[in-house]
């Protein structure tokens, strides 16, 4: 034990103390003084608001963009005919009113034995692009022309091509007649049918539209995204740095009330672990719904309360449906009794309490309580309250008898199921462990096997290589037909190039018929009846184990008024012009 050793030990002790201090502070920073000071420095009245998000964004051409973060930002600068509010109700943006069959502004016509809809959309007289050019029917017709072009890579083409043609009234370029290809009840739900500024984009399309992806590569949204005239929302983009931030400033040509906040910066912080530090240091003022995960928000909420920080953590129930798809190719899961045992033996109420402190609601089927179609009426849907005894009985009836090792056996085979999800998702991995324990008590062995998202979604789920159970979520909007996930024509197979999202291989002919009827049923009451019948089939056949409806989380300054997360795909930025920092500092 010489001096050198002592010196080494002293240095090790110093490093250990330093590390401990750091750890302690990282978990529970003292006082909250630095954070409030930092937060206060950058906000006098409504001067500026910096929003942190953790998801990447792309070029903001409304026809081409496909990322959630792009859509989140585009709603600040781009408006269309209608949208969905935080209460799940349709409201007008660029249109004066929503056409309907009742008031005669829409009618069903028959052309060549095919039913179509003709609807009149009247645009707001003061609706303009941000260079002062009026928005007319020609801008919508041009968007349709671009979207329909085979050289342009629009993701979901039907959003646009459901409209066959758009014509303007000879005397009024703002009175548009839309002819729809099919007579569908939700013809007015055009929240993603964005107009394009024809006066700026048509020359580009004429020049490059024939080349493969020529238009999108040369569009002004790509080449000059801050150009005046590209936007029509309450804000206009004044700076774009892909992978870093986008700056928004008020659009003086906006048709509605001028926004109160004079500058909004949306900043990308890819590591959610440092999001909180960025908030506390004043690099950002709030975290949008595309920022924190639920567990991070729960932890931060505790700190906000304990340290009286000037933020509010909001948990908004959403329609995002977390569930487990059951692979009906699996011989064990072909047996309905086994599927019913799995759902009955799953204590979802306890799961959401234990893992999410009750901030996310247990799911009973694919429709969330935010959806007007939701029902928990036992006459309409089959409910499966937790019962270990009942689940065991069902497994006994299916021939799976409890063995001496605590696992059930049938014909010499153990009741063992492979359970897969996306690797690295902490919440999902916790749910896996929870379910593993619950099913162990029933005598079912759960073997977890996780994969990176690109492999899981790119190969495993769509080719049904997931063994028995695949956990993931569907993001949707209220009153959305479940056709793409339930219809037998949506079962991915080699013939259809493995497209379609019925990953369970669930085929129910009665249900297929009901979904086809749903699309063309104009009577809201009858539609509700149809969707309840569909949901009844879904809950009877148990092709999926519903887990919970996710909550959207955000962290906002306490003095931010009129901020309403929506819980669906049309983000809270849809009414960004109403946001108000209240004329005081963030303190």
């Amino acid at each position: 034990m010489n001096k050198t050793l002592k010196l080494g030990l002293a240095a090790a002790l110093a490093v250990s103390v330093l590390a401990n201090c750091t750890k302690k502070e990282a978990v529970a920073p003292a006082g909250g003084e630095p954070s409030t000071t930092a937060a206060a420095t950058n906000s006098t009245k409504n001067a500026e608001l910096k929003i942190g998000i953790s998801q990447e964004f792309e070029n903001l051409n409304p026809l081409i963009m496909s990322m959630s973060a792009s859509s989140y930002m585009y709603r600040m600068v781009g408006r269309t005919l209608v949208s969905l509010d935080a209460d799940g109700k349709w409201f007008t943006q660029l249109a004066k009113s929503i056409p309907s069959l009742d008031n005669g502004s829409a009618k069903i016509v028959e052309v060549g034995g095919k039913k179509k809809i003709i609807a009149t959309w009247d645009l707001l007289d003061n609706a303009k692009w941000n260079d002062g050019t009026p928005i007319t029917c020609a801008d919508f017709a041009f968007a349709l022309k671009v979207a329909a072009a085979p050289t342009v890579s629009v993701g979901e083409k039907e959003t646009f091509t459901q409209v066959e043609k758009i014509e303007a009234d000879a005397a009024n370029p703002k009175k548009c007649t839309f002819t729809y290809e099919k007579a569908k009840w939700d013809f007015y739900a055009l929240a993603q049918f964005y107009p394009l500024p024809k006066h700026l984009e048509e020359p580009v399309f004429n020049k490059y539209g024939k080349e493969k992806e020529g238009y999108e590569k040369n569009s002004n949204y790509t080449k000059n995204p801050t150009m005046k005239g590209l936007y029509n929302g309450p804000y206009a983009i004044t700076e774009v740095k892909l992978g870093d931030h986008v700056t928004f400033e008020p659009n003086t040509d906006f048709y509605g009330p001028q926004p109160k906040i004079q500058k909004i910066i949306v900043k990308l912080i890819p590591n959610t672990g440092t999001m909180e530090a960025n908030l506390r240091s004043g690099t950002i003022d709030m975290i949008g719904t595309l920022g924190l995960s639920l567990d991070e928000a729960l932890a931060f909420d505790k700190k906000v309360k304990a340290e009286n920080l000037p933020y509010e953590v909001t948990f908004t129930p959403s329609i995002t449906y977390e569930h487990i798809d059951l692979n009906l190719d699996n011989p064990i899961l072909k047996d309905l009794k086994v599927r019913k045992a799995l759902i009955t033996g799953l204590n979802r109420e306890d799961l959401v309490k234990a893992l999410f402190e009750g901030k996310q609601e247990a799911a009973i089927h694919n429709l969330s309580p935010k959806d007007p179609w939701f029902t928990r009426d036992p006459k309409e849907v089959t409910l499966y309250p937790y019962s270990k005894r009942e689940a065991g009985k069902l497994l006994d009836e299916a021939g799976w008898k409890m063995g001496s090792d605590g696992y059930r056996m049938k014909d010499g085979k153990k009741l063992s199921l492979v359970f897969m999800t996306t690797a690295g998702n902490k919440t999902r991995e916790l749910v896996q462990v929870y379910l593993q324990d619950q099913y162990k008590q029933l005598g079912i062995e759960i073997v977890t096997k996780n994969e990176p998202a690109r492999v899981f979604f790119g190969e495993t789920t769509r080719k049904r290589k997931y063994g028995a159970m695949a956990m993931f979520a569907w993001v949707s909007s209220p009153e959305n037909s479940p056709r793409s996930t339930f219809h037998s024509s949506s079962i991915p197979n080699e013939k259809n190039g493995w497209s379609g999202q019925n990953f369970m291989n669930w085929s129910n002919k009665d249900n297929d018929k009901l979904m086809e009827e749903l699309d063309v049923e104009f009577d809201a009451k009858k539609r509700l009846d149809l969707i309840h019948k569909i949901t009844k089939h879904y809950t009877d056949d148990v092709p999926v184990l519903p887990l919970y409806y996710r909550s959207d989380v955000s962290v906002v300054p306490k003095n931010l008024k009129n901020y309403r997360p929506t819980g669906h795909q049309f983000a809270e930025t849809n009414d960004v012009e109403k946001w108000d920092l209240g004329g005081s500092t963030l303190n």
């Binding site: 001096k3 070029n59 993701g155 039907e158 790119g458």
Partner: protein, 323 residues
């Protein structure tokens, strides 16, 4: 010498061409393509959409045909179009390459400035207290995970003592401030990432310098130089250090060759707009054009830096000749 350089450059081009095809082919083997990524985030995409998009993106073609198209574009000077960000690759990659280059080179320069004198100093006093202390901190630097160090730096210097920004590349509107103000602003954003990136490098370089110097100091010519009564500084720097340079050049060349890919974690933690994370995301997101260009840059850097290292060996040791 010129013939040697030319021969090596031709070899480099051939290796890049072969490896680029191997890499392209391997990427096509990975499950999931850009269309699959779109499907997973949007259940409304129809089978017709899938067929149309695959055809439009050329994903329905065999890998060698797609590679041929890609190579043809590269030879015409077109780097392609990013399917993830929907912008031309050069617009996306250019500013990020510059940012990463600045970050990595500043960190490397800072590391060399600190580590070489420390390594030499430590080698001159092996077994001393100072040697132990330097070794201890070198090992600590090597052992501390960079993501942890990054977060600690943010908590210390951005939250507790708000001296530096917690993340980003520059203040919004920074370029409008004027050249010097902008330079100062960008430097402010560089300090924490450079600190986080350098500590590991310093530890590694100190260890290499120390061991190379120790090895060099044991040589007979050092004993001869001492016997001749040459001044100590001449012996250390002109004779011992020059001989210790060979392994140092190797490690430096390797470090420089990975400057565009070696800062992924630091860039992610500090939300620094660099090329490392972009490359990673492009591989994960199957953004072929971005991934391939990044790959070519990476391979070219390794090959060119190895060539530079070979040439520098000749400068450091006159016994090595390429004639």
């Amino acid at each position: 010498m010129t013939t040697y350089i030319l021969r090596r450059l031709i070899q480099t081009l051939v290796v890049i061409a072969i490896l680029s095809y191997v890499c392209f082919y391997l990427m096509t083997l990975m499950p999931g393509d850009p269309v699959d990524m779109m499907i997973s985030s949007n259940p409304k995409i129809t089978a017709a959409d899938v067929v149309r998009l695959r055809e439009l993106y050329g994903l329905d073609q065999p890998s060698y045909v797609r590679y041929g198209h890609w190579m043809g574009d590269i030879l015409k000077g077109e780097l392609g179009y990013s399917r993830t960000y929907r912008v031309p690759v050069q617009d996306l990659l250019g500013p990020r390459l510059v940012s990463t280059f600045i970050l990595s080179m500043v960190a490397l320069g800072f590391s060399i400035l600190i580590s070489v004198p420390l390594g030499v100093f430590s080698a001159l006093r092996p077994g001393s207290k100072v040697d132990y202390v330097i070794n201890f901190f070198s090992f600590a630097g090597i052992s501390i995970p960079s993501f942890w160090l990054g977060i600690v730096c943010i908590i210390f210097f951005a939250v507790w003592i708000p001296l530096f920004p917690a993340g980003g590349t520059q203040t919004v509107g920074g370029p409008d401030l004027g050249f010097f103000a902008n330079l100062l602003d960008r430097s402010k954003y560089l300090i924490l990432p450079v600190l986080s990136l350098s500590l590991q490098q310093i530890g590694r370089f100190v260890r290499f310098t120390r061991s190379a110097m120790l090895e060099s100091l044991r040589n007979d010519f050092i004993r001869t130089a001492k016997a001749k009564g040459l001044p100590r500084q001449i012996i250390i720097w002109r004779h011992a250090f020059r001989n210790a340079l060979i392994p140092l050049i190797t490690i430096l060349a390797l470090s420089i060759s990975s400057i565009f890919s070696g800062a992924i974690i630091t860039e992610t933690v500090f939300a620094y707009q660099g090329v490392g994370k972009l490359t990673y995301d492009s591989i994960i997101g199957n953004d072929f054009n971005v991934a391939m260009v990044s790959f070519i840059i990476s391979v070219a850097m390794v090959l060119v830096m190895n060539l530079v290292a070979d040439l520098l060996y000749g400068v450091a040791d006159p016994r090595i000749s390429y004639s």
